[in-house]
Structure formats: structure tokens, C-alpha cells
């Protein structure tokens, strides 16, 4: 089990903030940068940093959409869902719910 925990800690979702971002995005079709920042109570710089890391790992996809003004949208990718499933499986195993 320790191997699995070590694997999780090294994965992009090993960081609690990034795991929270992925969990928040999973049931949503997409969300905005502002919404995510308010929900997770993060500074724009901090959120940007985590989003960049998640995007580089292929967990999320960001793009600009147009409304009254250009807005940054964020959505989880299929790879992100796979990573999240793995992270949840390891966490369930750790607490003995599996």
C-alpha cells in the first residue's frame, strides 16, 4: 500500500488543491477561472500555478470563450478522469473502504 501512496503523492493529483480542482470539475461540463478561485478561496496567481501544472499533466483543458468579455473556461479531460479514479481508489484503499 505504501507504494501506491508514494505513487499518488508523486502524481499530479497528489497535491490536495489539485485533487480538489479535479473533484470540483468532474461533475461539471466546464467552469470559469473566477468560479474556481472563489470556491477554492485561492489567489489568482496560486490558482494559475495549479491550473498550469494540471494542464501540463493533461488532467484539465483550458480555453477562452466569449460572453460579455473573454472568459477562461476549464474542464476535466478523459485522462483527468482516469487519474482521478486512480487517486480515489488509492485513498479508499488507505482508509480501508475498498
Amino acid at each position: 500500500m505504501l507504494d501506491e501512496v508514494a505513487k499518488l503523492s508523486k502524481s499530479p493529483l497528489g497535491n490536495p488543491t489539485r485533487l480538489a480542482i479535479a473533484l470540483y470539475l468532474l461533475p461539471k461540463e466546464r467552469t470559469t477561472f473566477t468560479d474556481l478561485r472563489k470556491v477554492l478561496k485561492l489567489t489568482p496567481g496560486n490558482l494559475e500555478f495549479h491550473l498550469r501544472a494540471l494542464e501540463e499533466a493533461g488532467i484539465i483543458r483550458t480555453y477562452y470563450g466569449f460572453g460579455r468579455r473573454p472568459r477562461k473556461f476549464i474542464e476535466i479531460t478523459e485522462d483527468g478522469v482516469r487519474e482521478l479514479r486512480e487517486a480515489l481508489r488509492i485513498l479508499r484503499e488507505v482508509v480501508g473502504d475498498d
Binding site: 468532474l26 461533475p27 461540463e29 476535466i76 482521478l84 480515489l88 488507505v94 480501508g96
Partner: protein
Amino acid sequence: MEELSEALKAVERELNLSKKAYNAVLYLYWAAAFPMLYLLSLVISSIAGISINLLRVLLSTVAILLFIFEEAGSYRKVRQIERALGREGGGKTHILLIQVLVWPVVIVIVRMATSDAWLFSLWTIGAGMLSLALVDCIFEGGNAFQKALIGLIILAFSIPYWRGQGAGGAYATLVLSSGFALGAYITLRKAMRE
């Protein structure tokens, strides 16, 4: 450790609720679409002088296309949630195919039974929902209560129309909309209670 366990359970509850909300939204779509179709065809017809029947066909086609788009999105999201929760059923393509094939069969049978446009809508949708419930029951082992209820309500309330008891298109629209609204209400209420 206990806190983590509780947090994981809370995450699972939230994700299950979202999954059911995605299912309920499809019922809500039709609950809103039927009155909108009826009213729009009346309004456009009176303003532009286009035949009301032609408008109904055109608007219904648009509504069905939008629904397919909406359903594809919901289906994708529900599958993602199931996959993340490790509850991937797998091999659901054949069920989806049967669910799609149910409609032409029902349409052909109902078309033989009636030529009235509104009665055709009521019977097709009522019988279609009952058939979908049956498919779910056979292939997914139950949990088809909402679909069966929608079908039964629509078919039961089609009786006054069928017997010509002063019920018109507005009545048929109300029946269709109420059936789907009730289905959405029950789905969400059940999800919130679980």
C-alpha cells in the same frame, strides 16, 4: 483517517447527486420543450402566417436535435462520474442501441393505430417511455420506475383526448409536460433523500 473516510463518502454522495441531476435534466428538457413548442408555433404562425402544422414539424425537429446534443453531453458526464467512482458498467452500447431502436418500432405501431397528430404524440411518447422502462428493467435490472411512471401518466391522460372529451392540443401539451416534470421531480427528490 476517519476524516478522510468521511470526506471520501461526502465526495461520493455529491458525485451521485450530480449523476442523478444529469438524468433529471433530460426530463426537465422535455417538460419545458413541449409547452415552448406549442406556444412558439402558435405565436410564429399568427405573426408570419406560416402553417401551424409545418411549424410544429420544424420546431419539433429542432427540439429533437437539441435534445440529442444535450443527451450526448449528459451521457458523457454520467459515464465520467461512474468511471471516476470505479463503477464502470461497460458494454452499455447494446442497451443504448436498443433504446434508440425502440422509437421507430413504437412510431410505426402507433401510426397504424391513429392519424391524429396530438394523439400520435401522446401514444408514441407514452408507449416509448414504457418500452424504455422495460429495456432498462431487462438489461440493467430495475430502476426504471420514473420512465414507467411518465409513460403511464401520458397514456392514462390520453384517454380524454382519445374519447374526444373536449381536449385539444393544449391539453396534450400539458399532459406531456406534466409527465416529464413529475419524472424530473421524483428523480431529484429521490437523489436528495439517498
